[in-house]
Symmetry: C2
Subunit: 333 residues, 2 copies
């Protein structure tokens, strides 16, 4: 079984996933799955994946039918598992939690050779609703403290399979960087009686320089201190702490905005590898006036080096104002 | 001029280095410099680099003589510069510091086609002394708050030039992750009256499972919560807060240990890309009983994905106990 370990010096939690145990020879360069290679995520290969947790199928299609649009199932090589007892133990200076949690795969489309930006709005909205519904379901497990939803697209962004998919990790502890951000948002609120993200949205809409586009519900911007080139944030304009509270019409509106944002990046950067991550409020937390959910899209254009690794400080050679101006001028059609 | 910017939500400082300004087309795959391509770090090409700040040359060699063993000069495309005024300003929610600092290159050997593990002990000790002497010199500039010394070896670790070199970045602010670790070490000391790293060294020497080797002065181990496979820490056994206080005999002893550690990794992982970083005490700080310097060697075997990016939590598929046992059995000769 895997376990979570905390370093007493850096106070960072790490998942030591020994079921994925690797020998030095396993670290040869990865080759992404290409056409012609068996793809476990393609329709007809449902038996190659673990038992489905959620799917969207045609009304007349039963379980196992290959006519689905979205499928969710546990990762075959999970970093954490729902099975097992949540055990917390110490070993001198060291802290340990047993590897209880969840690690799921969301296959976003039956088509092997497409990209998220090419999905229809209804299909993309189904993906967002699958994320939402899985977070709500996992929130019922009181052992879990945090759910991270993320997508790695392309080998440079950490993907090992080409077929479009996202992943979800549910943890029994709040990761350090997530906890820090929530604490700071709460401290800001207690000083100001305002949400820091709402303040930021107001300031960025007024300034305009880092705004890529906006519609009635969402704003898309290149953040002031973007650690990497062409980073995009998508935020709801009206305060909302929890992504999982998004209703169906809002998920459709978000799908439109996400599709346009991805389309612009795809066109500007010629189909870059990227990470997509969801930042949201405390799991099972009541709606909070302090924290504000967002999606981040981070093209993987540069390789972080030792400085970034040691300091958490990044060097970005593209001003977010330049990235935003460039993306404003891109027509993704 | 570049500038440092702080994000009001993540509280992360970022160096926006507009002098390295990049257009989308600049993000094509990087090709490492190979033999036959002009190398600005090779002897005879001294004029291709900025004015030397420090060098080790034969006693009869004057400045400009190509018979050097180590050379230090400013980066040609610096993220930060010594020139200019230190200006701190706000823009609504946003914080900014002008890009004052230093960004230097340490060429570690005149030989183009060698690796750090193949240098002689005296040559490697010269590199460590060059780091030390540059930190001491930069510490005299009272505008600077932190010096980061790091090495990116191989394209997967962020290197763009093949000739062995390390870099140094001096900043006018303490990076978030460095500040967090120092604060926590100080909090530990105030509770316990002991250094947390000294506690860790005692526990790891007693346990043995994560120890790779030790000698009279240093211990080399795979940390309990290693975020990435085969991460190594090198720590002085006797409490020492500041690397820059290392004397010449200690730097020679460290060179021996570093050479053995790198040799084991090179043999075990077939010459991996890696990051080497120095973690040390507060710049200009008096010797502190709370913080303890170390070197980290992190082979770049995996690509961090969206989960790691968003949470600061890593998934490591190699137990540090397995990595340590494997490395103990490796003879680098």
């Amino acid at each position: 079984m895997s376990e979570l370990r905390r370093d007493p010096i850096t106070e960072r939690w790490v998942i030591v996933a020994s079921e994925r145990a690797a020998r030095p020879s396993d670290f040869s360069p990865r080759i992404p799955a290409t056409a012609g290679i068996f793809c476990p995520f393609c329709p007809g290969n449902e038996e190659a994946t673990p038992q489905e947790l959620l799917s969207r199928r045609a009304p007349d299609a039963g379980p196992g039918d290959p006519r689905w649009s979205v499928r969710v199932f546990p990762n075959r090589f999970p970093a954490l598992r729902v099975e097992g007892e949540l055990l917390r133990s110490g070993e001198g200076l060291f802290d340990r939690i047993s590897g209880v949690g969840a690690h799921e795969v969301i296959v976003e489309t039956p088509r092997h050779d497409t990209s998220l930006a090419q999905l229809s709005i209804p299909s993309l909205a189904e993906v967002l609703r699958a994320w939402r519904d899985r977070i709500v379901d996992l929130g019922r497990d009181l052992r879990l403290t945090h759910v991270s939803v993320f997508k790695n697209q392309g080998p440079a962004a950490g993907a090992t399979l080409a077929h479009e998919h996202s992943q979800l990790l549910a943890l029994p502890t709040l990761p350090r960087d997530v906890a820090l951000e929530l604490e700071r948002a709460e401290a800001w609120f207690s000083r100001k009686e305002r949400c820091v993200s709402c303040d930021l949205i107001r300031q960025e809409r007024a300034a305009g320089a880092r705004l890529v586009f906006e519609d009635q519900r969402f704003v898309v911007l290149c953040p002031w201190a973007s650690p990497t080139p062409f980073l995009l944030w998508i935020l709801p304009k009206n305060h909302a702490s929890h992504f999982e509270a998004v209703d169906d019409p809002t998920s459709t509106a978000l799908a439109e905005v996400l599709r346009l944002a991805l389309g612009k990046l795809e066109r500007a950067l010629e189909g870059p590898a990227y990470n997509l991550v969801l930042v949201s409020g405390r799991l099972r937390g009541a709606s909070s006036p302090a924290s504000h959910w967002r999606l981040e899209i981070a093209p993987a254009l540069t390789v972080p080096g030792g400085f970034e690794r040691a300091s958490g400080c990044y060097i970005n050679s593209t001003r977010p104002e330049d990235a935003a101006a460039f993306l404003r001028g891109i027509d993704p059609a």
